[in-house]
Amino acid sequence: MLRKENVHFRKTNKNTVVKRVREVYLRNDIPCLSTQCPKEPPCHEAVKVESSLLSAEQDYYLIPDYSVALRYVELLEQEELTHIIFTETILQRLQSEDKSRTYKSLRQVAKDPRRRSVVFSNEHCKETNVLREPEESIEHRDWRALVQTAAWYRRHLHGCANIILLSEEFNQEDVLRIDDTTGIKVMSLKEYLTQFWPRTAVLHELLTSLKEAILEEDLENKTQGSTTSKKASGGTGYQEYKPLSELEAGVKSERFFQGVMRVRANHRDQAFIRGDANIGEIVIVGSEHRNRAVHGDVVVVELLNKSSWVAPSTHISYNPEEVHAAAEDEEESSSGVRTREVKPTGRVVGIMSRNWQPYVATLQEGSEKEAGSFHLVLPLNPIIPKIRIRHHDAKVLANQRIVVRIDSWPVNSQYPNGHYVRSIGPAHDLDTEISAILIEHGISVSQTTQGFSEGSLKEMPINTPERPWVADPAELSRRRDLRNHIVFSIDPPNCQDIDDAISIKEIGNGQIEFGVHIADVSYFVKENSLTDLEARARGTTVYLSDRRFDMLPKVLSEQLCSLRHHVDRYAMSVMWTLDSEANVLTTWYGRSVIRSACEMEYEQAQGLLNGKDVVPGLDAKICKQLKPSVVLLAKTMRKVRARRMAKGGLELESSEVKFKFKEEGGGISDILPKQPLEVHQIIEEAMVMANGYVAQRIYQGFRESAMLRHHPPPIESHFKMLLRAAESRGFSIDTTSNLALANSLRECAAKSENDIEFVKLLKTMATMAMSEASYISSGSMEVSKYAHYGLALDFYTHFTSPIRRYADLVVHRQLMSCLLGSTPQTTDNSSDFLRNGLKMEQVAGHLNYKNRESKLAQKDSTELFQTLYVLQKTRNPAAVENGGNDPEAEDLPFIETGIVSEIRENGFFVFVPRFGIRGPVYLKEKSGEISIPLSALKQSSAGESDHLVTISGCEMDTDSMTQISVKVPPQALRAHASSPNVLSLVQFRLFDKVKVALRLKKSLAHRHTIYMTLIGLDHQATPAAVSGTGKIGSRTTTVAPMKSHSGRLFKKAGEQLQQDEVKRIAQQDPSLAPLLQRDLIQGIQEGQQQQQQQQQKKGGKNSRKQQQRVVDLEEVYYQSRPESSLYNLIESFDRFRIVESNESPSS
């Protein structure tokens, strides 16, 4: 090693110039990281490095220079460019010039094994180190360093690979100074792209737009030089950020607070950060105080003095496009509601790191007609500010969804500067909107195009009709043969990727052998193979409402791994021996081979369970064979489930819906709420059991690095909403533990059986309060924190869906490694990865991120299709005839019954359970006028067109977020005196049922949003209505004079409800069945008791007969029981919390 000293001068804080001496060692063991290395052994094996390697596949390597790395990162990030050598020279310079975002992006590229790019420490390599000559500029020295590196690579690899130096500043002539320049080419990006990627339009487009952005930046820098002093304070109200050292010191001394800034989705003028425990949430109001921070940035906030603290507004914002209106609105409300509890309020004084991502945006309407090349674009996500971009031909971009990136946000600019990246397609086109969703959630291009690289497809086993894949006899002998067991799978209809199958049988003396068999993906996907790396990057299969984006190639996900029937398939099995009470006696884990007897659908299984002998779609013989298994499975799983529930497992709700698409024409024919069947619960329980046991097993083997899934207990304050909602109905909920919560929810449900929607909504609120479940590596936390709150298990992991989740694949590998135990496959570094807690933590973090994004994408796509459905429903055929979009044509009314789910100051949110749609109802218009439709005031005889007549000039009053009342002034009432029974006061309370018309707020720049207008209260609690809609005795109407009336009606209705009536309802609408049944059983039991008492008085005894009746009822109850929980309980915990936290009322 050669020792050398670097000398430089630096100014200190005291403004003195100090000479700094740094020692540097130059080495000769810096590896070239190429598989073509001629040394024996290759030089990267001599030293321990973790890096991808440059392969021999490509005949040239790229070395970007500083000008390229700094300004064309996006281009280098494109997946097409591979085999890039990043030199330490540029990385160091990026760091020293504080371009950490660029630095991180480059590191990311180097880390991605698919890119085959490396970092070469040329500054520490003896042969490539270059000294700065006297009078030489830094740029020139760095350039010489790159040339030196290029020459070294040529020498070192004996000229195997050509080197292309990418530079925007230097050209071929600049290289000639060194002796041997063959094979070293200097190219500008343009030259390079035209030579090697002539047909990849994306790259060219990107390059042009980047060039434009740079031009603009340069221009600005020049003009700024002369005008800075004038412009600095001009109009924007932004302030310069404080220097980093001051920020760090301030955060340490708790003068400032640091956190991730999030903007409220429903109120874009307000942002907040989570401060530390003492201060809680800090609100940032207004764009001046936000001071150029964008949603997701890590910011440092200084508190304002207490007199200017505000209470966050609880208005429903009116229009996502109007930023300024919102600001004024805010002033008004903050003065009006000072009395409410104020929150710490602050302003941003500095930004620690930016979190700018590519955003999908649309050109501002009308902007394309304006001259000039600067345009404002509106991001699709309304919480992102408008972005100023430069584009030479704005007409091309009009009405298109485009991808933009933010480059900078100077202090004198109202909006951030960005640049155009590419165009996705016309706005509101279905495919465009879906691509927009995918881009917003960072789902990679390779996944969205369903593509896999050639290399990874080469790794796949062959399975074609000519050469079908057959199990390898040698492999079969290593596996436990379960082909003689009756194995079956239960999945939704048309399921292609069958992850799991089940077998169950009695093995004498009351014992049961129960097995869960999971597709053995880890056999096909070897660790660190190309497919594995790709799957790891994708993290999960993304399911959208109408399509899915696979994690694994189709040959695996749909064929070889998928546990299809009548073929031999490899599986990972967990087999238990259970006693008659479903207690586990023994557990066996291992690889097996199975042959599924049947791919059942949920409905079919439920049919068998309900006692049918033959179900549609299945052979009678198979039905006969499987029926006992299904029944036994249900019996066993009920016991297991009951035990888990007793420990505190929660039964929660979410409002998932399914879309039914038209065969042709591409419309949505219907939205169906998910029908929960008992079979769902049973399968889920089996999976939970398998996951729980596997989690315990891998934790034994990997104390430090087991991939577990934990669900932390919720934060107490998140329950506020739930508690208040329950209180409004006179219930109290105990949230101290999961068991207490489960019990009190159950109690609520039992006490208000007649109001299913209430119970459902209450459970949804509980779900919202939950923390997010996440993957962890066991070494990173204490054992006590591994527990899964919602499932009430101490250990939990994901094991059962390796085809669609990468985490499961990791768990499979860990389980296999545990089972092989003392005989680890030594040489390969795979076991090293599984045992490395730190790496496992990184992977877990990545998977959490991917999971969350895919969930959000799924949610967005559901919303998209819901709006499409409303659009279809409200579209006036007349308007369509008149040439498509006639703005004059009135939309068709689309009236539905909903339930008030949240009260705000100027209206409330209504949830329509039929479609799972939630939307706002404004009582107070934007102009401040409060109006109410006439139909809401009338009791029963509301006329056809009454909802079109609105009474304005009303007064409104809200109270503690649980009710809102509108008072109609007498003079306004007089105008409608002709109508009978008009009320002067209408009250809306939480959980009231209302009739609303669903409408669409159309927008070009954003997605359409659904809102609703009030039609009236749904208070027709006549007996007929009760039996028809199942809303028995809705206590929901709180129109004051109606109360006694409806009460009487309800009583009458209750009397009329007979047992057969209930059965009828249950058949019509299974979702109502359980509660009705429970209600009825209870009612009947009470009745029986009364009867018995009476009979006992009379002396008659026929209790046995009565007992029989109760049993009958119970059977009915089980047959159509499903509602009590969700099919996807586990998934419901994963619902992301951003939405909730943004919308929860904060006081």
Partner: protein
Amino acid sequence: MSRAELLSPEGLRIDGRRPAELRKITSTTCVLSQADGSAYLEHGNTKVLAAVYGPREARHRALVLHDRAILNVELNVAPFSTGERRRRSKNDKRLLEMASFVKQTFEPVVIATLYPRSQIDIYLQVIQHDGGTLQACINATTMALIDAGIAMTDYVCACTAGWVEREAAIDLNYIEESSDTSEVTIAMLPKSSKITLTQMESRLHVDKLEEVFRLAGEGCKQMYEVMDKTIRDRAEDLARKMAV
């Protein structure tokens, strides 16, 4: 200013070393003719001069121990040792503390009973400071004591190690030291692997302690080889001169 990464993903430290590598060490003995023994030692850019006087008559009668010698250590850091000129007072607590570390390190190793009623003075001068002053002082003292011919049971070799970002590293330089790295200095008797001093600054997770200690121990062994070679070379040189 962004904080530079102390350990690059390629496994190189800020000065190009790998985590388990020492800086370049240069040492000579017998640099001062006035002193009974002296040594000059460089750990990279940290440069220390040690001078040993004695055993000689104790200066203060009151301190004299009748059965052994007393050790007296004085440490001084030159004002020009860092980039910015800074004068330290003689009573700087950090200096006094460091001097007492050196004293404590050597008290069990020097066979003081051979020199009753006398005093051994050790003067240490840090000429240039670039991290790892204590280890350099201890190592220089060892060599100066040997040069002075004072009986010791073994060499004392010191080495620092710390947790740099995600790995244990030895012989931290000034940049690494000053960015909140936890640092352990140990002094070891290489033949018996006994430790006579451990000193730690800032906090270190207990799981990482073992690794850091192991590495520091290895560093001490490496130090020993370098120091031993210098001493032997010097001795051979002297022997050759005597023969002539």
